[in-house]
Structure formats: structure tokens, C-alpha cells
């Protein structure tokens, strides 16, 4: 038998472990449904959703290594196409799928978060507030220099998203009133890319998901309203959108469990932790 000291240590460790497991178990109830499951979930689409997807996937895969979740970006357009064609199980969108899209693919939509789209500039840019009419002129190419807005004498570098982006769609519709975006704008392919582009360009201006905003860039007050979670929630910031996960037809099996997980208290906690607004 082991010497007395070790036995005591072992016993203490055993108690501690049991306590730990109980505590962890209480919090992991939502993940229990994934125990004993096996299979793959393929997700693609909106880039704003990716941090939430990653956290959820990590939790699920840690508890059950037999489940494989793969996450790709591409933008809302990609999400819809790929889930519609059966290439992925879940297609994320940062905009509501259109009636044609729903009809064509038989999509079922699930909104698990609310987000906004805010305008951002470099931290050192003195221009931190804009009128909507000016924003439209900047993006159409009418205003080309920061000095026209009270800033330094520097050309404005406009950044926009690619065509598949739901963020772009929402910004264009609600922020620009569907006015044209200049062809000369630099194109970036995700929310993350937009953030790092503007963070590295003192003369840049772009738009990004409110949940993605951090202190690497400065948000721009639009018509007197700051783009924050609070203003999106109470409706004073108008450029808002839901974060959707869409499936082709009703979700079944593992996919259904994943979507239910997003709506569970634990899932909604992940949503809030990533800077979005919970729907429940």
C-alpha cells in the first residue's frame, strides 16, 4: 500500500476533482445533449458569426471529440448558396434571406443574436462624428479629402466588403440608403479584415459589425448616435441586423442540437461575451 502521506493526498485530490466535476457539470447541462453523438457539422457564411461559432464548436468538441465541426467564412451570400446546395449543414447570414432565396432553397431561418453595423475610422483620426448625408457622399466618392470634413488634408481611403457580405448589404441599405459605393473602394473579405485594414490606415474609413468593434479602431458617431450594443438594443442606432443561422428545410439531428445550443442560456452567454445582443 502507498505511504500514508500519499494516500491522504490522493483522497484530497479525489474530493477536489469530484467537486470540480460537479461544478463543471452543472454549467454544462446544455452540452449534455451532445454526449454520445457522432458526426459532422459543416458551417459557412457570415464572418461576423465566426467568433460565436468558434466558441460554441470548441465547447461541443471538447466534450465530445467524436463530433467534428468545421467553420468557414465567405459572407452571407456564400452561406445561403452553400446551405441551399447542400454543401454545408448551416449557412450563416448577417442579413435576412430574401423571399426568393427562402423559396428557392426552402430555407429555415434562426435568429440567435442582434448586431449592428457601425462606421469605423483609425484611432488617430480626429473626425469621429459624421452626418449620414456626409457618409453617403464619402462612399459615393463625392467627398474625397478629410479636410472637407474638418480633418487633416489627406485623401479618404474608402474600404468596403465584397459582394457576398451581409454586413455590406445591411450597411448599403440602412446606412447609405442604397446609394452607390464608389468603384475605387478597397475591397476586404471579412469583418476581421475590415478591422485590421482600417486599424492600419490612418486615412481609412470602413464599416464593421458592432460586436467586432474593439479598441484597435474608433467607432464613428452617426447623426449623433454612437454605435454601441446599448443603442442598437434600444433602437436609437438604426443600422441594426440579426445574426441568422439558416438550414435547408427543418434541421435534424446534430444540426438541430447545435442550433438549439445557440439558443440555450449557455449559447446566449457566448453571444453576449462576443459583443452581440442576445435574443433570449
Amino acid at each position: 500500500m502507498l505511504p500514508k502521506k500519499f494516500r491522504l493526498l490522493l483522497f484530497v485530490q479525489f474530493i477536489a476533482l469530484t467537486l470540480l466535476l460537479t461544478v463543471v457539470n452543472v454549467n454544462a447541462q446544455a452540452l449534455d445533449v451532445f454526449k454520445g453523438e457522432k458526426g459532422e457539422i459543416m458551417i459557412s457564411g457570415g464572418t461576423a458569426h465566426i467568433p460565436v461559432m468558434k466558441d460554441a464548436a470548441r465547447n461541443i468538441m471538447s466534450i465530445n471529440p467524436n463530433i467534428r465541426i468545421s467553420i468557414a467564412g465567405g459572407g452571407s451570400g456564400v452561406g445561403i448558396k452553400q446551405v441551399g446546395e447542400g454543401l454545408v449543414n448551416i449557412g450563416n447570414t448577417g442579413r435576412t434571406p430574401t423571399n426568393e432565396e427562402v423559396a428557392k432553397y426552402g430555407l429555415k431561418m434562426f435568429k440567435w443574436a442582434i448586431d449592428g453595423v457601425g462606421v469605423i475610422v483609425h484611432k488617430k483620426n480626429p473626425v469621429k462624428s459624421l452626418k449620414k448625408i456626409d457618409l453617403i457622399k464619402i462612399y459615393s466618392g463625392e467627398i474625397v479629402n478629410w479636410k472637407q470634413l474638418g480633418g487633416p488634408n489627406r485623401p479618404i481611403n474608402v474600404y468596403t466588403r465584397d459582394e457576398a457580405s451581409g454586413t455590406r448589404e445591411v450597411f448599403w441599405e440602412k446606412g447609405l440608403g442604397k446609394k452607390t459605393i464608389t468603384l475605387k473602394a478597397n475591397v476586404v473579405v471579412s469583418n476581421g479584415a475590415m478591422k485590421s485594414a482600417v486599424a492600419n490606415d490612418p486615412n481609412g474609413i470602413g464599416y464593421v459589425s458592432v460586436g467586432h468593434m474593439d479598441d484597435s479602431i474608433s467607432p464613428v458617431t452617426l447623426d449623433g448616435v454612437n454605435p454601441t450594443i446599448k443603442t442598437v438594443k434600444d433602437g436609437s442606432y438604426k443600422i441594426s441586423r440579426g445574426l441568422y443561422s439558416n438550414t435547408k428545410g427543418d434541421p435534424t439531428g446534430l444540426t438541430k442540437k447545435f442550433i438549439d445550443y445557440l439558443f440555450s442560456p449557455e449559447g446566449q452567454k457566448i453571444v453576449v461575451e462576443n459583443g452581440f445582443i442576445a435574443v433570449k
Binding site: 459532422e40 459543416m42 459557412s44 465566426i50 468558434k54 464548436a57 470548441r58 468538441m61 471538447s62 471529440p65 467534428r68 465541426i69 468545421s70 467553420i71 468557414a72 467564412g73 446546395e85 447542400g86 454543401l87 454545408v88 476586404v188 473579405v189 471579412s190 476581421g192 479584415a193 478591422k195 485590421s196 485594414a197 474593439d214
Partner: protein
């Protein structure tokens, strides 16, 4: 040409040589400077214990391990798919091809080698959609499709190096076995290929390097930002070059950027090792052959 002209040409030439070396040096020094600090177990395995990750007991989330494994698997599968075809076609061109036919095959090989890699990726993508629609709903862009597309990409290199290696065998060695009564195939397999082995192997290594570094093809055929270790050939996967591309525009904090630098160093390291290995193998094999004879 007067003295001034000569001096300026010489000066220009030296300037170019120095600029080239300086540019390459800057790239390497910059990478090492920014990335060496991040080369630790955490960058590769994230928060998971290294032993658990290597024995596949736990998944790695914040590390480069899945991407490294993805790249390795990709390379192995592509080369396995391309090697037999490349070898066989190279043998045909060197030993059996004649005149016009040889010219045409050779031309098509050059064209394939010159096709932009994005078009090969597009072809692979279209192929996967085609297969998905008409053969099986289970086929998506995945590891297998990417590996197949990469094999198409490196096929011309394998064919060419095999062909050249075989053609460079002096005619005396070519005829010896035949004179002793061996059949054509026996000659090829027992005499010619062993003699051309160093050339063939360096071609294989060149292809391995090409598969490891290519990004355009895999971008369109199945690589994703997060997938863990690929469970099957029909699964999505991660890869180092895609990780570097993806993180370069979408890093959210300095730690992720550090991982990008580390990934770049690892990728360059892999390619450098392959290069040196090719050089070594070429020479050692040649020595071995000489001693056997």
C-alpha cells in the same frame, strides 16, 4: 563601348546582385525577428497539452497543429496520386514516344505547367460541384478534391523531371542490358530507373514543395479556417499557407499575428528542409550508384 559604359554596366550588375540578396535577407530577418519569439509549444498546440494532442486524445483549438497536420496529409495524398501517373507518363515520353506524338505530349505538358494555379483550383471546384450534383450528395470540396487538384498542378513537373532524368542516361548504359537479352520493360525497371533515380527523386521533392506552399488551389477546393484534424478524405481541413493568408488580414490581436509569423517560419522551414534534402539526395544517390557499379 567606352569606359563609362563599362563601369556603369558593372556597377548596375553589382547593384542588382546586392539588392537581391538584401531583399531576400530582409524577408528572412524580418520573419525571424517577428516570429521566433512566438515559436513555442503554445503556438502549435494552443491550450491543449502537447502529448494529448499528438496522441489524438484531445483536439487543438488555438494552435497550428491542425494546419500542420493538414498540410502534411495534403502533400502526402497529392504526391501519392500524382507520382504513378507522372512517372508512367515520363517513362512513356522518354522511352516510347516518337516524333510528332512526343512533340504534342510535350507541348501539352508545358501548357499544363503554365496554367495559373487559380484555374486549376477553379477546375477542382467545378469538378467537386459536378460530382456533388451527379454522383453523390456526400462529395463537397474536401481534402480529397484538394489533393486531386494539387496532383494535377504538380503532374507536369513530375513528368518533365522523369523524362529528362531518363533521357540523360548515356546511350551505352541504355543498351547494355538490351544487348544481354533483357526485355524493354526489364531494362526500364532494373537499369534505367535506378540510374535516373536521383533526378526523379528531386522532381518528387520539387512537387512536395509545390504542394506544401500552394494556396490558390486549396482556397477553392476545401480548406477552411477552422476544422480540427480531418477525419476522413471527404472532410474539410486546415492548412498552413491558408492560415497565413487568412490571418494576415483577419488577426484580432497580437497573439494571432504572432501565430501567423510562426506559421510562416514553419512553412519556410519545411520548404527549406525539402530543398536541402533534394540537394543531398541527388548527390548521395549519385555516389551510391557509382559505388555499386
Amino acid at each position: 563601348m567606352n569606359r563609362l559604359g563599362e563601369i556603369s554596366v558593372t556597377f548596375f550588375s553589382w547593384l542588382c546582385a546586392l539588392s537581391l540578396v538584401a531583399a531576400l535577407g530582409t524577408v528572412f530577418v524580418f520573419l525571424l525577428f517577428k516570429g521566433l519569439g512566438g515559436m513555442n509549444l503554445q503556438t502549435i498546440f494552443g491550450d491543449t497539452n502537447a502529448w494529448d494532442a499528438l496522441t489524438l486524445r484531445k483536439a487543438v483549438f488555438n494552435g497550428l497543429f491542425p494546419a500542420i497536420v493538414g498540410t502534411i496529409l495534403l502533400v502526402i495524398i497529392s504526391v501519392v496520386m500524382a507520382l504513378p501517373v507522372g512517372l508512367a507518363a515520363g517513362i512513356y515520353l522518354a522511352e516510347y514516344g516518337t516524333g510528332r506524338a512526343k512533340n504534342i505530349f510535350s507541348l501539352s505538358c508545358d501548357i499544363l505547367a503554365g496554367v495559373p494555379s487559380i484555374l486549376v483550383g477553379l477546375f477542382g471546384f467545378s469538378l467537386s460541384i459536378f460530382l456533388h450534383k451527379y454522383i453523390s450528395q456526400n462529395i463537397y470540396p474536401c481534402l480529397l478534391i484538394s489533393a486531386a487538384s494539387l496532383s494535377f498542378l504538380v503532374l507536369p513537373y513530375l513528368i518533365r523531371t522523369t523524362q529528362i532524368a531518363l533521357e540523360q542516361i548515356p546511350s551505352e548504359d541504355r543498351l547494355t542490358a538490351l544487348a544481354l537479352g533483357a526485355g524493354r520493360l526489364q531494362n526500364i525497371f532494373y537499369v534505367l530507373i535506378p540510374r535516373a533515380l536521383s533526378g526523379i527523386v528531386s522532381g518528387v521533392i520539387l512537387s512536395i514543395g509545390r504542394c506544401a506552399e500552394d494556396t490558390a488551389v486549396i482556397m477553392l477546393t476545401g480548406v477552411v479556417a477552422m476544422a480540427g484534424l480531418p477525419q476522413s478524405l471527404l472532410a474539410k481541413y486546415e492548412a498552413l499557407p491558408f492560415f497565413i493568408y487568412y490571418i494576415s488580414s483577419q488577426y484580432t490581436d497580437m497573439q494571432e499575428l504572432q501565430m501567423g509569423y510562426a506559421a510562416a517560419i514553419i512553412l519556410v522551414g519545411i520548404c527549406a528542409v525539402l530543398f536541402v534534402a533534394a540537394f543531398f539526395i541527388k548527390n548521395r544517390l549519385v555516389e551510391r550508384m557509382l559505388f555499386r557499379i
